[in-house]
Amino acid sequence: MTPLRVSIVGVAASLLLILVVLELVRGRRLKERYALLWLATGIVLLVLSAWRDGLNTLAGWLGVTGYPPAVLFAVATLFVLLVLLHYSTVISKLTDENVELAQRIALLEERMRRAGPASGSPRPGD
């Protein structure tokens, strides 16, 4: 059986995670799109921490006989991996878009320079 203290700490930690994520979204420092996986993480950990019988049952299914809270760590690790993987795909997309923006600006600047001297940033050689 999961020790009560582990359960309490687990509930407190997942509640804290959920509140921090919500506050970040409210303050516009995190977009809803990227908050959803974190919220799912918080909610799953909250349920598993609070519902001790459920955690025991899950541990039984997974063959974890000695210490059921180990399943909490496993689930938390799994979700962190998911979030990281998700971020890797996001970063890849941002990288491509960033390169495209830089290329377009280079082409635009070239076109503007040919059209005439800009009042803004004179360059040597112009």
Partner: protein, 242 residues
Amino acid sequence: MSRGGLVAIVPAWNEAAVIGVVVDEIRSVRSDIEVVVVDDASQDDTAEIAEGRGATVLRLPFNVGIGGAVQTGFRYALEQGYEQAVRLDGDGQHDASQIPGILKPIEDGTADLVIGSRFVDPGGSYRPPFARRMGIRVFARLVSLLGGQRVTDTTSGFVALDSAGIELFAAEYPHDYPEVEATLIALRSGLRLAQVQVEMRERTTGTSSITFLRSLYYIVKVTLALLVASMRRYPRLQGARQ
């Protein structure tokens, strides 16, 4: 140029088959209307066709999604000093001949944002599939509750705005699945909202971008956005009279 004029903002993504007709129809409603097509990185000839029909075309360098595309149009309207704007989808589902109708409360000065709603009139002909109808209704209830005013159709993309509305949405507009949250933001910013019955056409080409997994993301994202938006403080807009 065109201070006080009217601009039509038309987000489009791969709509080459219909965008020409859409631009023509809008231009035939009023001769003084500038049609701005925001091309969300289409792979087909959407931008060229729209330009050929006399529209101003803003070409996004890559796909930014419907909300980001529409906001580009609002920013253009703000920069150009437009005082009235209508927003229509590029797929032809919004009937341009109804523009004068949804513009009326703006011209009368009685509203800052007018939603072309499919459900003001209970006898309206729009009958979406059950799940969709429920979704639209639940979001309408939620926005009405959080925004303090009854809203019948929060998922409509057929809207008209005055300068206060343009200013708000140029500064603040959700990037994906924007309509529901934008309605709440408008209410919480003190914009005066009006609703006018419109009929929408069935899509003639393409498919709706809403699939099952996306529907799930849509529901969860929009719900979260609404709850968070109702916890935020929004500055009351200068332009909004009330």
